[in-house]
Symmetry: C2
Subunit: 194 residues, 2 copies
Amino acid sequence: MGKLQKSIDKRNALVKATIELVNNNGFHATPMSKIAKMAKVSPATIYLYFENKQDLVNKTYIEVKAKYTKYAFSNYDETMPVEVGFKLIWNRIADFKLKECENAMFLAQCDNTPMIDEVSRQEGIKHLQPLLDLWERGRQDGIIKPLSDYLLYAYAINPLSFLMMIQKRGVFKLDKVHLEEAYQSAWSSIKVCQ
Amino acid sequence: MGKLQKSIDKRNALVKATIELVNNNGFHATPMSKIAKMAKVSPATIYLYFENKQDLVNKTYIEVKAKYTKYAFSNYDETMPVEVGFKLIWNRIADFKLKECENAMFLAQCDNTPMIDEVSRQEGIKHLQPLLDLWERGRQDGIIKPLSDYLLYAYAINPLSFLMMIQKRGVFKLDKVHLEEAYQSAWSSIKVCQ
DNA sequence: TATAAAAAAATGAATGTTCATTCTTTTTTT
DNA sequence: AAAAAAAGAATGAACATTCATTTTTTTATA
């Protein structure tokens, strides 16, 4: 195995350990020493890859966010009709939140916490543009309500975070039927009523 | 001022300081010493009122959650028609999230973080019953979609947390018009389409 | 190709700080 | 005068980060 690959593996192991430990204990209760142990690395080695703990968590956030948006748009292209495109993206996001639960949990925690730098937060938002473009198209065609992107996100996408969270907490199990119902609610909340 | 009142004041000051500091720095970065300083009390005094830091934050959570639900239902009574009752409660919750921003932020952070004991979390949920009863009535009358309470909460209420969060972050200002739009989206997402 | 010197990467232990909690003393209330 | 409440300082543990060594990898030479 090449030196470069080994470096990449080590870095990935650190990021993965960070996600898992922060999910279970929160940022404040995950010492660098535990992250190191879980990644099978010396604590000192972390500092060869990241400046410090804050940098580690910022970079982890940005990477997970990038993975999220890449996943969300993987089978979308902008020539699709608005409703088709939205359904596609919505389902991919739902998939991500339910299948890539660790990653999604981590994002939820970062997004509701002063754990992350404002700069990294901004960096993370960038890649959502295709969805915003789709909405703009929908508004112009009179298919989607003329609401701010924030409102549309709040009603069409954000509820999935809540559902993922309670599902993870074990109090509720989201099955195929629920998912279809959730989609209908999401779409109802932003579509123009005929 | 009586001894009891003085005790209450001191305890309230501690709870208030906890909320403010945790909002700004997160649980991990708010030392007991800072909480004590902000509440104008010796660090040792905190331990006369709370067992330890975890207990302080658990109790704070439960109190804020109780305040939230009390606020939400203050002008609701269960003889109201479903749609009227829902609008009333929704608006009170919106008010709380926007006017009692510190409290709402604190709850959002607690709800997306392993900061709080599972026991305290359960304790906090209890008081939401009137809303669940209203929804049950709405489902039976064919006014509200036959969805699980979790789904209804995810679409009708939870988006307000997201909107509060981004508003607090300064990236978006929620005005009267937005609020009415938000209500329409919330209601659209859970009402049965005629 | 084999070997050794140099460079890079990785390590475990050490350092200094921060912090939750407790202890002893002082102040306030009864 | 006794009891209760509060205080500030002390304690000891946990932790992020750095330091001095060791191990691994690369490069240069024969």
